[in-house]
Subunit: 392 residues, 2 copies
Amino acid sequence: MSVKFAKRMEYIKGSAIRELLKLTEQPEIISFAGGLPAPELFPIEEMKQVSLRVLDTDGKAALQYSPTEGYMPLRRMISERMKKIGVEVPPEQILITSGSQQGLDFSGKVFLDEGDTVICESPSYLGALNAFKAYLPRFVEVEMDQDGMRMDALEKALQENPNAKFIYTIPDFQNPTGITMSLERRKKLVELAVKYNVPVVEDNPYGELRFEGEKLPAIKHFDTTGIVIFLGTFSKIFSPGLRIGWVAASPEIVRKYVLVKQGADLQCNSMAQREAAVFMEMYDIEKHIEKIIEVYRRRRDLMIETMKKEFPEGFTFTYPSGGLFTWVEMPEGLDAAEVLKKALEEKVAFVPGGTFYPNGGNENHCRLNYSCMPEDKIVEGITRLGKVFRNL
Amino acid sequence: MSVKFAKRMEYIKGSAIRELLKLTEQPEIISFAGGLPAPELFPIEEMKQVSLRVLDTDGKAALQYSPTEGYMPLRRMISERMKKIGVEVPPEQILITSGSQQGLDFSGKVFLDEGDTVICESPSYLGALNAFKAYLPRFVEVEMDQDGMRMDALEKALQENPNAKFIYTIPDFQNPTGITMSLERRKKLVELAVKYNVPVVEDNPYGELRFEGEKLPAIKHFDTTGIVIFLGTFSKIFSPGLRIGWVAASPEIVRKYVLVKQGADLQCNSMAQREAAVFMEMYDIEKHIEKIIEVYRRRRDLMIETMKKEFPEGFTFTYPSGGLFTWVEMPEGLDAAEVLKKALEEKVAFVPGGTFYPNGGNENHCRLNYSCMPEDKIVEGITRLGKVFRNL
């Protein structure tokens, strides 16, 4: 028996690289491949108190169906916290989603017809590209430099692609490069979005994890017309296992996302939404985030220092001032997927960079994660990787 | 500013009826409109013990990212429990989803291109129709009688629609009619699915809530070729707030659903999956289900008795032997949406039946839910509704 699937299933495929990365789950491998938060920082004891409080005070509602839009007290808290990045959005314009990944999927569903264009950074987050692919778009990649997406290249892309449906960007400590978009470019991006009437999907999972330097306002801060859709999440500052993210957008746009969520899964977990809210009520999440920042900063420092020492000439890398990743450029002609095979022989892993370019090419890059490996393993793993690189 | 949305957004709309039903949330209204489980039966005290156990023994994993496919011990338990309805599916062929609603959305995503045909019961579950609509199908409705979907009509639909991508059915205590598909038809359905090579999506949220009579095997029980996709959920037998459902299908098909889930939201809540598993470990879910059945059976009895007494001639209704709903047929020419307005004046509510027919018509039906109203309110509400009916 062989049934007929939708055309999109030809584009949603398991990748050879994903299969390769399954190997990295073996305990003897030092893996810089994932994008996991450090589990030793999860507030487990606090969560026990939080769960008891939720079930004691609001148990029936926590286990019952609840509105698609989300738990209002949580939406209020998110609205309040977004002021820290210069965004004023009332709780009514916030939809709770299953992580920001669901916000990405919904962006595709709300905007994309087959053949429409998505404009994204080059490279861009693999999980977003995969979510969008289900709606059969074309991708136009915009070159980046150390200040993020280049605005001259973006304007050219907008001119050349009148069927562009949105611009997708991760402005802070981008996945995979670790690069942050400059203040000037944020302003300019909104200007261009308005000029060409193309919405911006601002994906910001890492923005609160800044190790040093000045906090930048969100792109949405500069949005006066409702053209920016902001995606946020508690995954990197609290817990990814609870699957609590959000979409903040204009009333017209957020309404579309709500309608899509109704069909997609009705609502997020009623209990987890209350747990996130009660956690912020009972404990100081800002302090918790400071603790995460401290640990990740040390890990970033150690990784960069070791890379400087151990990587041969011709191998360059970004210096992220926050987030979870650094991005390695190897000499041209090298294929990171091949290099990964050699690295696995030395029991060290990373994600080959080619997968982050929706239109292919650029195989000479590697994404390295530093958030979820203890310090000694970072030194040992990067030392091993240096050896692999020197032997190429 | 007015941006351009995808074509599907013209079909995913808020309905006037949904707006009307928002009125039913006022406390003075006796509402038979929802499809909520009785919250007084939720195992709140047990859930406290369950949450503590999960966080104590497996806290890091409960708060961390976890595999898309789901928590293996939970998948094993589901595999084991499915034997009760005659289905042998190994845990590897089970994907955990955010309620069965997500399984419905994924069915659309995996199978439907624009213009493809979905064959469904007439009437059928509104939430499923809305989920499928996002993929722009045509709907072909198959007539039902007291034994469920008519197989002669189904075969005709299959012959006339070679672009049918799947047959959608709720075999047990169907939403909205409360009707159960007979054993013979289940066998025949699988025969026809194989003959025409069209998969069956078997949606079974209510099957475990049988009040009397013999338990029937699932449609999937008769499936020897992997053509039936089974959707299950803990929403009606444990808690809808936790959003834990599942898809059980052939290795080839379940693999497609897993790929779609990766893009859609990565995974279900890691903690909720563990809570469902640990609840079944610590407590006897079968006993819990018996308790639910007892309460719902009494409510069904009371509703039917009162309807017999209070409804005027020309108003007929189904006698469900399980599940949450009964289905009222009013004399032809009456429009349930108009009747609802009059009912709301008497502070009683239901869902007008027209919305359950994807191609319209049949406005002279009402869906009544008996699971979440206490007994005195059922008598009072049905008495009021009888008055409204008599005055039409």
